[in-house]
Symmetry: C2
Subunit: 192 residues, 2 copies
């Protein structure tokens, strides 16, 4: 066996961007614009696909973690934006359950509706709210494979106590996907 | 934001165990016994939950990566056995797509049928075969939350070209789950 160690670092452009943000962001659209900016800067800097995510302390509006798609560059098919944000938040807070961490409840804001993997992962993370920008159809329209999702995943989340809000700044978020595809960005999950 | 780095190392007991294995393991039951042993040693060493996984070069039978549940100790709700094995294999082979890596096709052998997150993740990994030991009902019977899975996930996998074989050494694998629960092991995903 050749590896017993895994590591993942955010790209260098992330920290200056995050440092430029207000300390607290209350408005859900403003939180979504952070996720969308993470998606766009990720593409512009050539560090990954057109997906961004951010975890906020829901009440204070403080940013707990940023994530972006790092699949190809970091050699990790699990490194979707939502997963990266969850890993970083839990690592910083030293808990596998954000629902019991200081600062809870936490809200995950994702520039695009999560794929099947991320939808499965979010309930294990302890976040208590999910906000999505672009929808599933927007991602599939440019060729991304979103996987097989439960037919009523939003109902399932609500039964678990996870609030869901979709379509927040959806057009802005979808534009990042379309621009990426139009510029010839790699659609690595095409199943091809 | 407090973290831009994530790392995950396998427990110290893993390398000596892996080094004790034959260089090539052809029989699927023998491969499953590796996954089951990883689950049991993980519990015995107090390093995580009763789940193990291993990725093999399907044709040669060489082990590419080992994984085990490291959720609580590593502060990472994503660190299920299958996810850890995928991260380690892709990191070692420096690719996000095991389907295109030297040694392909790869086979993921999991001591228990994957949860909803892992079921979503496996098609993104590039493995072309999944072998399961204990089944979904075995995991739920001791209190683990397996999440909302697509009703015909096996059919979905087959349509993607991922072969599935379930119930391999299922009783041996289920015994690890039951022993863990009987000894008072933490059922951290109970949704409680």
């Amino acid at each position: 066996m050749s590896s017993s160690h895994f590591q993942l670092s955010l790209p260098d452009w992330v920290q200056p961007y995050v440092a430029s943000l207000p300390e607290q962001i209350q408005d859900v659209s403003a939180r979504m614009q952070v996720a969308i900016a993470l998606a766009r800067y990720n593409v512009d800097n050539g560090t990954g696909g057109p997906f961004g995510a951010a975890i906020f302390e829901q009440n204070s509006g403080r940013l707990a973690a940023a994530g972006m798609n790092l699949v190809v560059g970091k050699h990790c098919s699990l490194a979707h934006a939502e997963m990266v944000a969850i890993m970083m938040a839990q690592s910083a807070l030293k808990t596998h359950d954000l629902g019991r961490a200081a600062g809870a409840p936490y809200q995950l804001v994702s520039s695009t509706e999560p794929c099947a993997m991320c939808l499965g992962a979010i309930p294990w993370s302890g976040v208590q709210s999910l906000v999505c920008g672009a929808n599933d159809a927007d991602a599939r329209a440019v060729g991304f494979d979103e996987g097989e999702k439960p037919s009523d995943w939003q109902g399932g989340y609500q039964r678990r106590g996870i609030a869901v809000e979709c379509g927040v700044c959806g057009e802005d978020a979808a534009r990042v996907l379309r621009d990426y595809a139009a510029s010839g960005g790699e659609i690595y999950n095409s199943g091809a």
